[in-house]
């Protein structure tokens, strides 16, 4: 079967003025199957986001190939929805308009787009919040709007860059449950970047570990066989979860310590 996302021997370098190019990711091979939820974990500066941006088409690899459903990617990845870590909503649009615009730019008539935006706001638990501007919402609510904005287009692939990073611990759990709930309905291919191993295990089908950058490599690839549907906060208490956590942490810890040893790497 053709993978949804496939990275082949991908190198990503950044030009640094006056110095040799900085190679963030080296020789990365990664496949995300259709319907598969893959979490990418690594210490700060391991190039997790860089890898994600290559799959999104926001960055062009300096070597290697990125393929989306078997076709080489050129320009932006039109089949992917991208959920950013920082606030990405247009602050001058209400949450309703922020969600509807995702359809409008593809030519959906405004009335229909607004009606579907309202449906999506309900699905992410924001009934009655349509007229609020982003600054009137909490961080968690803004993330919900952002999820509706990305998902309303029904992308085949979902790319997420530490989407719940800025949220508090309780909100992260709730957002994790919401994400799994929505994902369960149509099982998109997901690349989920995080530095939080617990979050990675509890959400995904596979956890991929990146080594400390520069020249970050893929260090490990662990299938997560935990039963679905899952409850993100409950699943952490199961012995299966804990044994997986122990095994993966064993590999990850070494990289994290190394990252602290020479923390000259750039931000992931």
């Amino acid at each position: 079967m053709v993978s949804a996302v496939s990275l082949r021997a991908v190198d990503i370098s950044f030009n640094v003025t006056g110095k040799a190019p900085f190679r963030a990711v080296a020789n990365a091979d990664l496949d995300v199957a259709k319907g598969e939820f893959v979490a990418i974990v690594g210490p700060t500066g391991s190039g997790k986001s860089t890898l994600l941006n290559a799959a999104a088409g926001l960055l062009k690899p300096s070597a290697g190939v990125v393929e989306i459903h078997g076709k080489p990617l050129s320009g932006l990845n039109r089949e992917a929805g991208y959920l950013f870590q920082a606030d990405a909503l247009m602050p001058w649009k209400t949450s309703r308009d922020n969600v509807a615009i995702a359809l409008e730019i593809a030519g959906t008539p405004r009335r229909e787009a607004l009606a579907r935006a309202d449906e999506w706001l309900v699905r992410v638990g924001l009934r009655g919040f349509g007229d609020r501007y982003p600054h009137m919402l909490s961080g968690g609510q803004r993330k919900r709007v952002a999820m509706a904005q990305v998902l309303i287009r029904d992308p085949a692939i979902l790319l997420m860059d530490e989407p719940f990073g800025p949220l508090d611990a309780q909100t992260r759990l709730i957002m994790g449950d919401l994400l799994l709930d929505l994902w369960q309905q149509d099982r998109k291919a997901v690349m989920f970047v995080t530095h939080d191993l617990e979050e990675a295990i509890s959400l995904s089908d596979r956890v991929v570990i990146l080594s400390t950058g520069p020249d970050a490599r893929i260090m490990g690839d662990f299938p997560i066989g935990l039963e679905r549907p899952r409850d993100v906060s409950e699943i952490k208490l199961t012995p299966e979860f804990q044994s997986l956590h122990r095994d993966i942490w064993h590999i990850l810890k070494e990289q994290v310590l190394k990252a602290y040893g020479h923390s000259t790497g750039m931000k992931a």
Binding site: A56, L76, Y82, F84, M90, P91, I101, I105
Partner: protein
């Protein structure tokens, strides 16, 4: 501070200032009143002059002329600055070429342009509009330029990933971002439009508030000069208040704007 207290204190400042003015020009405390009156007039004379202007209705014509000049300077200046600001911000190479010339033009004191504009556009309203234009244009231009340059990177990337074309980005991302900067400079740019109009009138015109003040000055009519200044101040205060009302409506989405209510 409560609204009531604030208003009381604001009125108190005016009362104290006028009282001091009265003492200065009506008593011998600071010297001979007939001398001080020559330099400062008196509160009563100034008030009489203002009442005379409004009761005869002649002031309305001058106010109207100044308003038209300021409005034209503001609208033309803003539209030109929007177009040029956008264009240059999206074309860094062109911007780099023109950069020193724009800075040089902005450094020029506008008053020296007034005689040239009078020569070019005559004594009518257009020489004043031109002067106001040169003031408004640069304020708005730099704000638009900044607004387009400093569009939030994540918002922009997100809009791209949602599939926006360049035109859609312009309309939904760049323009709102630039306009928010323009609005935040609205008080300054409208104020400068009025300054341009009045200074232009002062230097050579046949109507307008600046003309009234210049006329009074030419005849050593200090009461007329002061009356003109007060009417001008009130005029600017009213415009400023209108701008605030418009701003509140247009920038509801802004966090800092919300807290002012």
């Amino acid at each position: 501070m409560s609204r009531m207290l604030l208003l009381t204190l604001q009125v108190l400042v005016a009362v104290v200032a006028v009282a001091f003015w009265w003492v200065l020009t009506q008593t011998t405390l600071f010297g001979d009143p007939s001398r001080t009156q020559f330099f400062f007039s008196t509160p009563m004379d100034v008030l009489k002059q203002i009442v005379a202007w409004f009761s005869s209705g002649q002031i309305w014509y001058h106010l109207w002329i100044t308003l038209i000049e300021a409005a034209l300077a503001f609208v033309i200046g803003t539209v030109a600055a929007l177009i040029l600001g956008f264009w240059l911000a999206r074309r860094p190479k062109v911007a780099a070429v023109f950069d020193p010339y724009i800075k040089a033009a902005n450094a020029l004191p506008r008053v020296v342009l007034a005689p040239i504009f009078t020569l070019w556009f005559g004594l009518g309203i257009w020489s004043k509009v031109a002067l106001g234009f040169t003031l408004v244009f640069f304020i708005v231009f730099f704000n638009v330029y900044q607004g387009v340059k400093e569009v939030n990177r994540t918002v922009l990337q997100n809009a791209r990933m949602l599939g926006m074309s360049e035109r859609q980005l312009l309309r939904h991302v760049y323009l709102p971002s630039a306009l928010s900067w323009v609005f935040s400079s609205l008080h300054i740019s409208i104020g400068f439009a009025v300054v341009g109009a009045v200074v232009g009138e002062y230097l050579g015109a046949s109507a307008g508030l600046g003309y009234l003040i210049a006329q009074a000055e030419g005849m050593f009519d200090i009461a007329g000069v002061f009356a003109g200044m007060f009417v001008l101040s009130a005029f600017v205060l009213i415009i400023d208040w209108l701008v605030t009302v418009v701003e509140r409506r247009l920038l509801v989405w802004r966090p800092d704007n919300d807290q002012q209510h």
